[in-house]
Symmetry: C2
Subunit: 404 residues, 2 copies
């Protein structure tokens, strides 16, 4: 990557983050009355729904805290983090069992709880950044509690009816990868004592059960012993998810200066780029089948925003860690395709859901699933990565700086 | 509709049913070893998954019994019905609570149960047709038991964790419309004593809560008192579903010789055709928003097979009941678009999932959701309707014949 391209990318990411994406959400979606964020907005930012997704509350508070801690101590960001963290504390827990809701009204009345505990993981990283920004030990302790609650619920779910019987038990990559990234985040923000242990366990689970050398594939769902299940669910691959897990692992390799982790992450990226990149139209496909058969999920060939974000991060990180020009080429391909199709040049931010050919399927900018997270995280990480690489002679030093 | 077109349509539907669709499923999907059907097959009929959807077991046995009862007493059809009904009896009930599974293995080990009880409604109509075909009172009694079990579970769900809290309670059109059609089917097959009562209740529920004259719309989901909920879920319309409910009601109007029901069904069709028909590419859209806003479900603009099937039935029935040429024109539009895009001229049957523009999204012919039901039901009903209309001078007499 030459210097003019690097300079250009830094400004695309930094300016996009600070002058487009963050202002879009603060202007249109932050709830000035009750705290938190109402992510369901249309193309122009007009409101589609006042309901609040609990994942998005945690992610938004995390982003505000992160920007305050990493970019600049702007009062507005800290205020938004505070108001959102307080909304979470006040309204997002079921007093009956202490578990978090998934979906609440604007005022915080509960609509839905789910079987899993990802609300807890996103609240944990939000509380962690807020604790770091304020120095308030109460929130550091809450962040750790929520992390352990997330872990414990996944290992030993109580009070929920399982979705499936125990005839064909499975394990998904979602839990270890989110456990790993949550631990990485909390190591940075509150120096979580359990971080190293859970990162090790998560990497082991991904490597032992999901990474298949013989077929060069990262499996999304396997049997409890890592068996490949020759059914729709077992064969369905989620390349964007696997590539996200890949950069969590590369980042850990850089942090620990452990080449074996960097190689593992790069291998996962290599395989899933080949399986997930759409040779016909470009962009990362949502689902593909292990053997190229049809998948059951009918939106399989759509281009969602977040797999592109994760691919852009992973390819840039792999390039900086290895110097392999292949990754710079993939990064350019992923970046160029995404920036050709997703940004809304009229009202800012990105569209979220494109058809396979890159045409826009829906004009909305947010819903229960899409909010200020994957895109601004990509912008922040890629900006910092490129800026650090500019300053540091050795590639991996750049990543350590990032993860510190 | 002129006579040559009618003759041509009769042969498209009848021959399509008997020489293409039914043979496709019998050849590729019927389980000769364990009974029942494995609907997950690829374009050429090759197997994608051996698992069995319980809805599809009931629907397949219903179709086999229906063909035996209405078309011709072919031993093969009765044998398939018998083997599938026996598979259902043996493997599709949870002995712990008597509720039915949703998804089982080929051999019948349970994989998943759901909160709702549609497996019961489809098993009920299967048992009803089988009782009629064999004269076996045991299955007639089982059909009635399952119908009441379906009703009771919907009114008073026990042993399931609700998906939503009671902060914003809703009612969906799915329960009354399926209750109504199940009762219609069981009235015909086993003379269900409760049929009239449940059809009345279902029509009342649809008319009182879901049919909105002031905005000319059939709502999929409303508040318990029929309030329009200005949130994603409340605004999301499912035109294919509403049009299916419309012909259930028209059919009842013809059966009872009740013009007010025919008018209600036609009104529902009129509104939802206007809201659901894609003016740009043709075909019925999957979801649309009440006010034209984005919907949350990202596959909203795909063209699934079944909404086209239901629209073809509803427009043909409306034409025969009213003589209004508008319905003949809509019927031709719906038929022509569907037959231009869905049939697989190489291996038979229809593709199930097209992009908005009519291009094929996935080559599979079946999965847990798609099996031999909506398409062959359309072929059978439209064939019989056209044939009866040819013989009967009065349009509504044709429909009564059909429902008898």
């Amino acid at each position: 990557m030459n210097n003019p391209r690097r300079q250009n990318l830094i400004s695309v990411y930094r300016d996009g983050l600070l002058n487009d994406v963050v202002p879009f959400w603060l202007r249109h979606a932050a709830d000035q009355e009750h705290g938190g964020i109402m992510t369901a907005v249309n193309q122009d930012g007009s409101r589609l729904d006042t309901d609040k997704g609990v994942w998005q509350q945690g992610r938004f508070a995390w982003l505000m805290g992160k920007l305050y801690n990493q970019v600049e101590a702007r009062e507005e960001w800290l205020t938004q983090a505070k108001r959102t963290v307080e909304f979470i504390e006040r309204h997002c827990f079921d007093p009956e069992d202490g578990r978090m809701w998934f979906h609440v009204t604007r005022e915080g009345a509960p609509i839905r709880k789910r079987r899993y505990a990802y609300s807890e993981s996103f609240a944990a990283i939000a509380f962690g950044e807020y604790a770091k920004a304020t120095g308030d030990d109460y929130y550091a302790e809450r962040a750790r509690e929520l992390f352990l609650q997330f872990i414990n619920h996944n290992l030993n779910p109580r009070g929920v009816t399982p979705k499936f019987t125990d005839v064909r038990p499975t394990r998904g990559i979602g839990f270890p990868m989110i456990a790993m990234n949550t631990a990485q985040e909390l190591r940075e923000s509150i120096d979580l004592p359990e971080a190293h242990e859970w990162i090790d366990r998560s990497v082991d689970a991904i490597r032992d059960f999901h990474v298949k050398d013989e077929i060069e594939c990262v499996m999304e769902t396997v049997g409890v012993g890592g068996e490949i299940l020759d059914h729709f669910d077992g064969r369905t691959l989620n390349p964007g998810h696997a590539i996200e897990a890949a950069w969590f692992i590369m980042q850990e390799g850089a942090y620990r200066d452990d080449d074996s982790l960097i190689q593992l992450g790069c291998k996962m990226l290599d395989w899933m780029w080949r399986r997930g990149w759409d040779q016909q139209y470009g962009g990362l496909l949502y689902f593909v089948d292990l053997r190229g058969l049809p998948v059951q999920d009918y939106w399989h060939d759509m281009k969602f925003w977040w797999p592109q974000n994760e691919t852009i991060i992973a390819t840039l990180m792999a390039y900086h860690l290895t110097g392999d020009e292949k990754y710079a080429a993939w990064n350019q391909q992923a970046h160029d395709w995404a920036y050709r199709h997703f940004p809304d040049h009229e009202h800012g931010e990105w569209f979220g859901y494109l058809h396979r050919d890159g045409s826009v399927s829906t004009s909305l900018k947010g819903n229960l699933w899409k909010g200020p997270f994957h895109l601004p995280r990509m912008q922040l990480i890629c900006w910092k990565l490129l800026a650090a690489a500019e300053a540091a002679p050795q590639p991996s030093a750049a990543i350590s700086n990032l993860a510190d």
